[in-house]
Assembly symmetry: C2
DNA sequence: TTCTAGTTTATAATAATTCTAAACTACAAA
DNA sequence: TTTGTAGTTTAGAATTATTATAAACTAGAA
């Protein structure tokens, strides 16, 4: 509620019309204290829980895609069956707890890759973020 | 064809009956010179290409699951839309080419993780295999 | 040879995601 | 202010990898 102007601006400068659905989702995602790791399913529940405005599941999918393309959130490749997203767009690593299916941030400097192979010619490394799988 | 006995034994000692379907798939997977990275789709094509014996897709799925549980192949978490498997069951890293969707092995000692965070209490690290995404 | 648990198979079901096309809306321009 | 239109939302259908179902088949112990 506090920085609605800023959010509208964020949307506009990404070429996204500030519709009430996008503003609602953006507020939910970007006005948090802590990093939020989510799936479309969890975000959809979150958005539609307090009976007020209903946002369709299709719109949640569309918005998550639009925000990802705009670089406001990023996708974490973790699970084979479901896509995970992250409001922390800085390069960083994760623990993934396979029991609870929860992601936790690891600071980038908490993992040190002291040796990395050269990519095949003609290709470059897109990213080097590590997901460390946890179990009991 | 050469070590059919060995393959039958491998199946038996895993508690898997050596059916003709499993033997065929095991021969295809385990009598290769080089590591094979595959999806169920590619393996199914491979198995069913030379008109001889037909193996149903359901059986390919069942067999891949059985071989994974037995530890004869392992799953690589790479793509969100499709499961990848690997005949190289040693701990090792991969390049994943997002254009061609191909996996390439990286020797375990080609990547050095000199600093790794401690897992949260009560949890342990299941594995530490890195997938390095490539792009043009 | 017989019996049965294990296996194969066609097919249906599931579930995340994407597509479609009609209704709606932000907003630039008149 | 009104209008025109491209962009957006939406319900529902389609897609696609995978898993479940249940009937027919078979390996192999007895
Ligand atoms: Mn999917
Ligand atoms: Mn799936
Ligand atoms: Zn994160
Ligand atoms: Zn490999």
């Amino acid at each position: 509620m506090k920085q609605k102007k800023a959010i509208i601006n964020k949307l506009r400068t990404s070429g996204l019309r500030p519709t009430k659905q996008r503003i609602l989702i953006a507020q939910n995602l970007f006005e948090r204290e802590k990093t939020f790791h989510f799936t479309v399913e969890t975000l959809n529940k979150e958005i539609n829980k307090n009976g007020s405005e209903k946002v369709s599941l299709a719109t949640v999918y569309n918005t998550v895609e639009a925000f990802t393309k705009a670089g406001h959130i990023k996708e974490i490749l973790t699970s084979k069956s479901k896509s995970y997203f992250d409001t922390n767009i800085k390069s960083h690593h994760h623990f993934y707890d396979e029991d609870s299916k929860e992601l936790t941030d690891i600071n980038y400097n908490q993992v040190k890759l002291s040796k990395v192979p050269n990519p095949p010619k003609g290709k470059k490394i897109k990213n080097l973020e590590v997901v460390i799988r946890l179990q009991k």
